[in-house]
Symmetry: C2
C-alpha cells in the first residue's frame, strides 16, 4: 500500500469552511478522517496576527478524530530553521494552512527546513490541507493578486512561485463569492498548460493520485484552456481587456470528481 501510493492527499479549501462546533463541518471532518487520530499541525504563518485562529480550530476539531492539534507560527523567516519549530512536524499526520496572505507563507517558509518537512509529510502519505491563502500556495505557480469583480485586464495579474505540491494547476479561492472568474480565465490565458481551479467558500477539492473530488456547499470550477483558439494576453498594452476564445469550463458540485491527467469530469 505504502509503495503503491508514494504521496498523500491535498485538501484545498476555498475559504470560510464551516468551523462551528455545532455546524456540519463537512470539510474539517474530511481533514480529521485523513489524520486518523494522529497529530495535525495548524500552520498560521499566512497571518500577521493569528491570535484566535488556533482556539477556533481547536474547538472545531475537538470532537473529531484528531489526536493532537499543534500550532506552528513564526514571525520571521529566520525562525523557520529553529529546531523546536522543525520538530513539531516530525511526527505529524497532517498540516493545515490557515488563511491570510499567500506571500507570507511562501516568503517565510520557501526553501527552509519547514518547507522540506511539509513536503515530507505529504510524501510519506500525510494530508496537507489549506484554506484561502493556504489553498493558493499549493500549486507551482500561485495567484497572488488580481482584481476581482471585473473582467481581467492584461497586466493586472500577479503570480509567484508556490509550494509546488500540485503541478500544472493554478488555484483561486472565495471564487463565486468574490466574482473571480475573470482573473482565473486571465491566469489560464497566460499558459493553458495550467488548469484553472476556482473553489467556492465552504467547499474543497480533495486531490490524491491525480484525482480530484469535490466536497462542501459550493462548487469547484475547472477552467481548461487546452482548446483555446485565440487570446490577446501577449499584447503589449497592460490595460486592455482580455479576449479568449474556446475555453472549456466544468462546474463541479459535491460528489463530482475530475481526472487531472485526462482532464475529464465525472458526475456524482
Amino acid at each position: 500500500m505504502a509503495e503503491e501510493r508514494r504521496r498523500g492527499c491535498l485538501i484545498i479549501i476555498g475559504g470560510h469552511e464551516d468551523r462551528d462546533p455545532r455546524g456540519h463541518r463537512v470539510i474539517l471532518k474530511e481533514v480529521a478522517k485523513h489524520v486518523r487520530g494522529g497529530k495535525l499541525v495548524l500552520a498560521t504563518v499566512a497571518s500577521h496576527q493569528p491570535e484566535g485562529y488556533f482556539d477556533e480550530y481547536e474547538k472545531a476539531f475537538a470532537d473529531l478524530d484528531v489526536g493532537e492539534l499543534v500550532e506552528l507560527y513564526f514571525e520571521d523567516r529566520c525562525e523557520a530553521g529553529d529546531r523546536d519549530k522543525l520538530q513539531v512536524l516530525d511526527d505529524a499526520a497532517g498540516i493545515f494552512f490557515s488563511g491570510g496572505d499567500q506571500l507570507r507563507i511562501t516568503s517565510q517558509i520557501g526553501d527552509t527546513g519547514i518547507e522540506a518537512k511539509v513536503r515530507s509529510v505529504y510524501e510519506r502519505g500525510g494530508v496537507v490541507a489549506g484554506t484561502s491563502a493556504g489553498a493558493s500556495v499549493m500549486s507551482d505557480t500561485m495567484l497572488v493578486k488580481g482584481t476581482s469583480k471585473e473582467t481581467h485586464r492584461i497586466g493586472d495579474l500577479h503570480m509567484a512561485p508556490g509550494l509546488g505540491l500540485i503541478r500544472n494547476v493554478i488555484i483561486d479561492q472565495h471564487f463565486a463569492e468574490r466574482g473571480r472568474f475573470g482573473r482565473l480565465l486571465g491566469a489560464v490565458a497566460h499558459n493553458p498548460r495550467v488548469l484553472g481551479i476556482g473553489i467556492d467558500e465552504d467547499t474543497a477539492a480533495i486531490v490524491a493520485d491525480d484525482h480530484l473530488r469535490v466536497i462542501g456547499d459550493g462548487a469547484v470550477y475547472v477552467v481548461d484552456g487546452t482548446g483555446v483558439s485565440y487570446s490577446n494576453v501577449a499584447e503589449a498594452k497592460c490595460d486592455i481587456t482580455l479576449s479568449m476564445h474556446d475555453v472549456k469550463v466544468h462546474v463541479l458540485a459535491e460528489g463530482d470528481s475530475f481526472d487531472l491527467r485526462e482532464r475529464r469530469p465525472r458526475s456524482a
Copy 2:
C-alpha cells in the same frame, strides 16, 4: 438594401455606459450613429422613478447625431394604449430602454400597442438599444432574478418571457462586476439551446443579422452549452449546487465578433 435587411440593429448594454458629456461615450456614440440624425425615444418605463434619467441622457446625447430625444414613460399599463404615447414611436429611428426592473418593462408593455410599435421600429431597420434591465428584456426568455456572487443553486433562478427581439439567447448584465457567472451558467443549463450572453458594465453587444460585435470597456462573455455532457439542473432538490460539465466559454473584448448562427467567435 431595405429588402436585403429586413431588421434593424440591437445595442445590448451591460449597464453603467459612460454618459459623461466629456467622457468617451463609446456606446452612446454608437447609438447615435444608428439614429443618424433621426428621432430617438428614451423609454424610461423600467423605472418607478425615472426623474433625472431623461435629463442625463439629453446632456449625454446633446452633441451627438440625434435629431430629437423624446421620453416615453407611463405609470400604468392602461396608458400603453394612449394615442399620444403611441404616436411618439411613429417616426422614431430608434428606441433606448434605460435601466430599472425588467419586469416593469414587460408587464407594462407586453402585448400592447407600444410593444407592437417597438417591434415595427426594429423591423423597419431602426435601432433598439437597452441598458441593464433594458438589455435583459430583449430575448425570448429573460433572466429576472437569481443570486449573484455565488454558485447557482438549482431553483434559485427566475425567468420570464421577454420582448423576443432576439431568439435563442439569454442575456445578463453588470456581468463581471456583480459576479453573475454562476447564474448565467445556471440559465444555460436549463436549456442549452439558448446561448448565454453576459455583458460587463460600459460594454455593449451590437447585434445585426445574426452577427454580434463588441464595443466598450469590458467584455462580453458567451456561454455555449451545446457540448454539455452532464448537468444536474433537473434534479428535484432546489437548494443543491449546480453541476455542469463541458461548457464552452468565449471572452470577447472590443472589436471581437461572434456569429450567432454558427456559434463561432472571431478576434478583432
